[in-house]
């Protein structure tokens, strides 16, 4: 009895998709278009975040320790530095290590023969969690007794933060707008399907069909359209993303491999889930809304 019912709903839902072929095509097309635009902006935002993350790793704060501190005393400041908010990690570098790494970058080492490591200070290389608060962190570090000077590249930090804010803000707005648009289109598609079948619905009501009996085939129709739309969108997005990132990489627009795009396989699963949830959600919610008014007889 139960399984027979499900069979009926599925048959009716599927046949409705084919009898309203054009509208079904149109709604799938709109869902696909909206999902791809949403997906492209999300992928862009994800990539920008990743690139900024890469920069963050390089954009360190250097905290120089007062000359009067011994190696042990300087090293002991690690706890205080770690305790500063927004500090992800801090690495202690002795003046000898700093001098050696400086020398290793110099070709003509003889020019520095009469200079030794004492001209330099012990220091901490500090990595931050969020580049947006780097100025604040810089001040906090400077307030630690023993820290003599703090340097960071604020200009790059500010530029990165602004870029990230713009990209994620624009993406959020676009995703929200497209979500609403695709919901409306889906609603109208199923509304057209129900409008064409309003006589049929009226007959069902008159012979004593319950509302849920009438509703299920339409819900199933919305489900299938949404599922199909998200599937097509996913595959298209896949091809599109791969093509675009390949083109950018080979075109040298990435500064000789300094910038790496996220590979599709890394985001495939989340994208697949998000597309399916949005597509199916839009399908089901759209058709539930569309059919409501025809059931009030």
């Amino acid at each position: 009895m139960r399984s027979f019912r499900a069979g009926y709903y599925i048959r009716e839902g599927l046949s409705s998709i084919f009898t309203h072929g054009f509208m079904s095509f149109a709604s799938v097309f709109i869902v696909v278009a909206c999902l791809i635009i949403m997906g492209s902006f999300s992928l862009l935002a994800v990539n920008v975040n990743k690139i900024i993350g890469d920069f963050e790793d390089e954009n360190v704060i250097l905290a120089y320790i007062h000359e009067s501190y011994s190696v042990e005393d300087a090293r002991a400041l690690a706890g205080a530095i770690d305790a500063v908010p927004n500090v992800r990690s801090a690495r202690f570098v002795t003046r000898e290590e700093a001098f050696n790494s400086f020398l290793s970058g110099v070709e003509d080492k003889s020019r520095f023969e009469d200079i030794d490591a004492t001209v330099l200070r012990h220091r901490f290389t500090v990595y931050v969690d969020d580049i947006a608060f780097i100025e604040r962190t810089q001040e906090d570090l400077l307030n630690i007794p023993g820290v003599a000077r703090v340097t960071a590249n604020l200009l790059i930090a500010r530029a990165l933060v602004t870029t990230r804010n713009i990209v994620s803000g624009v993406s959020t707005v676009i995703v929200a707008v497209l979500l609403i648009i695709s919901l409306f289109i889906m609603m109208n598609t199923v509304k057209l399907a129900t409008f064409e079948r309003r006589d049929e619905i009226a007959i069902m009501k008159v012979v004593g069909a319950t509302n849920s009996f009438i509703r299920w085939p339409f819900i199933f129709e919305g489900f299938i359209l949404g599922l199909f739309g998200s599937l097509v969108a996913f595959i298209t997005q896949w091809g599109l993303y791969t093509a675009v990132t390949d083109a950018l990489l080979s075109g040298g627009a990435t500064g000789g491999g300094l910038i790496q795009a996220i590979s599709f396989s890394q985001v495939a699963l989340s994208l697949c889930v998000v597309f399916a949830v949005i597509g199916i959600g839009v399908g089901i919610i759209g058709s539930s809304f569309a059919i409501r008014k025809y059931l009030k007889v």
Partner: protein
Amino acid sequence: MNVVTNMVHLRDVFKTYANNTKALKGISFTLEPGEFAFLVGPSGSGKSTIIKLLIGEVAPTDGDISVAGFDVANIKPRRLPQLRRRVGVIFQDFRLIEKKTVYENVAFAMRAVGASNQQIRQRVPYVLDLVGLDMKTKAFPSELSGGEQQRVAIARALVNNPQLIIADEPTGNLDPARSLEILTLLQKINELQTTVLVVTHEKSLVDRLSRRVIAIDGGRIISDGAGGYYNYEEF
């Protein structure tokens, strides 16, 4: 709660539509189980309004209505399907689904009320045989004559074994011979203990059968009597 033994009972029923049309102005009548009656009246007198009230398609402005034990005037929307499963309505315009075959049109009414495939396979051929359409089960409504479409509508009204059958102008667009055939069929159904209410304005038909006739005009009952009493020439 009073015990209801009537199939249909209307008392002082008024219906004023939203546009202020006073369609019914105090209608009262009763149909006993197993009765056969005609409801006659000129166009616009309120016949279809009475049918819509009986199946809860519209609500009365005032008055009591009970059908098959349901208090229709105060029925909750979620109880409407149960009421409608007890009442088979044959509409003036048949209301068949054009995309479905004869068989499917009838089976669909059973499916809508949750019958099993097996029940459908047994019952639909029986009902189609009863109305004389056993040879046309695979035809579509557009391939049928008016009388045949009418009989599909009757089969659909019958298929869920209703206690009451209401036919709105079942002979509206049929020639006299076909009309008589349909009426004979309805009488046959009545003999199987189903209450039948036939809405019509065909005087000759009503006169031919000595049955109870409820006549209305302008939303009021003007006569109600047995024996084909029917004296309004203009209908």
